[in-house]
């Protein structure tokens, strides 16, 4: 399968593409904009509650841990299979790097099933989890990144489902 992201994007460029100042995601950062309940946006100020940044930092840490678990699952399954699964593993590695984490380097140590269905199920769960995390994020820019990551997992799940069922219809949409 042709990999759209064969060359890993540097974190700075990814963050720039996401509209986030370099190094902004995670603890110690201020948002550029945040939506208010009234529908107008407010700029961050020194009165921005510290717990908002702390809440997002904890969210980012949780996302990084989950992405590393997914990365580990792919690495355990890959074996001699290149192409599609390598590309998906690389996507999750980029997710971890984007959020300032360290990609899991473990290979072959865990006894994970080599079943494509398991990977698809993991991607389905990741898409759902990331959706919830996008809704929970205080930072609008972080929410956008997490929404995009959710969409990436959803794309992976569609393709993995096709690999399981070669005669399946292109795309999940009805």
């Amino acid at each position: 399968m042709r990999g759209e992201d064969a060359d890993p994007l540097p974190r700075r460029r990814l963050l720039a593409a996401a509209g986030v100042a370099f190094g902004c995601l995670g603890a110690g950062c201020t948002e550029t904009t945040r939506p208010s309940a009234a529908g107008t946006t407010t700029s961050p100020s020194s009165s921005e509650p510290a717990n908002a940044e702390g809440a997002d930092a904890a969210l980012v840490a949780a996302v990084v841990r989950a992405e590393n678990r997914l990365l580990d699952a792919y690495q355990a399954v890959l074996g001699g299979s290149a192409g599609t699964l390598h590309a998906f593993a690389e996507h999750h590695r980029q997710h971890v790097l984007l959020l300032g984490g360290l990609p899991d380097q473990r290979t072959g140590r865990r006894r994970l099933s080599r079943d494509l269905q398991r990977l698809r199920d993991l991607e389905d769960m990741a898409a759902t989890r990331l959706r919830g995390q996008a809704l929970a994020a205080r930072s609008g820019d972080l929410a956008r990144v997490l929404a995009s990551m959710s969409a990436s997992s959803a794309q992976h799940a569609v393709v993995l489902n096709r690999l399981r069922t070669p005669t399946g219809h292109a795309g999940r949409h009805r």
Partner: protein
């Protein structure tokens, strides 16, 4: 104009264009083929989102962006391959617009935008697209 209002108007403008493009796709592709049926279903989805956005913007007391009289497609739609390219480009653009909407919204409207990002990203696959690391954030057009 607030960032949220601007983002809503931009995504509505994008849906106006998408409805137009999907109308062309559904009309030009050979009838009853899988790709034509896919285009027809996509038309319904985009039209529904367009109508929803008009309602959201109107409910806030703003004037919804109106559709252009016509739109120029990036390539003619004379072959299935060209149709697939147009379909992918439409969905990629919509993904970017909805991702921008996610950043400026909260609550139910953010949830709507997040779900639209996911839908547009997966809909690209039906047009021959491939998964990418960050749909809607990094230009994956090829």
């Amino acid at each position: 104009m607030s960032a949220e209002q601007a983002a809503l108007q931009r995504v509505l403008a994008g849906e106006h264009a998408a409805v137009y493009a999907y109308g062309v796709l559904a009309g030009r592709l050979a009838p009853t083929t899988p790709l034509q049926r896919y285009a027809a279903r996509g038309y319904v989805v985009h039209r529904s989102r367009r109508d929803h956005l008009v309602g959201v913007i109107g409910s806030r007391g703003w004037s919804p962006a109106v559709a252009e009289p016509g739109y120029r497609l990036p390539v003619p739609v004379d072959t299935p391959r060209q149709a697939q390219r147009v379909g992918r480009l439409v969905e990629e653009r919509c993904a970017a617009l909805y991702a921008a909407l996610v950043a400026t919204t909260a609550g139910r409207l953010r949830a709507y935008a997040v779900d639209a990002v996911v839908d547009t990203a997966t809909r690209q696959l039906g047009w021959g697209g491939h998964p990418v690391a960050l749909p809607g954030l990094v230009d994956s057009a090829r």
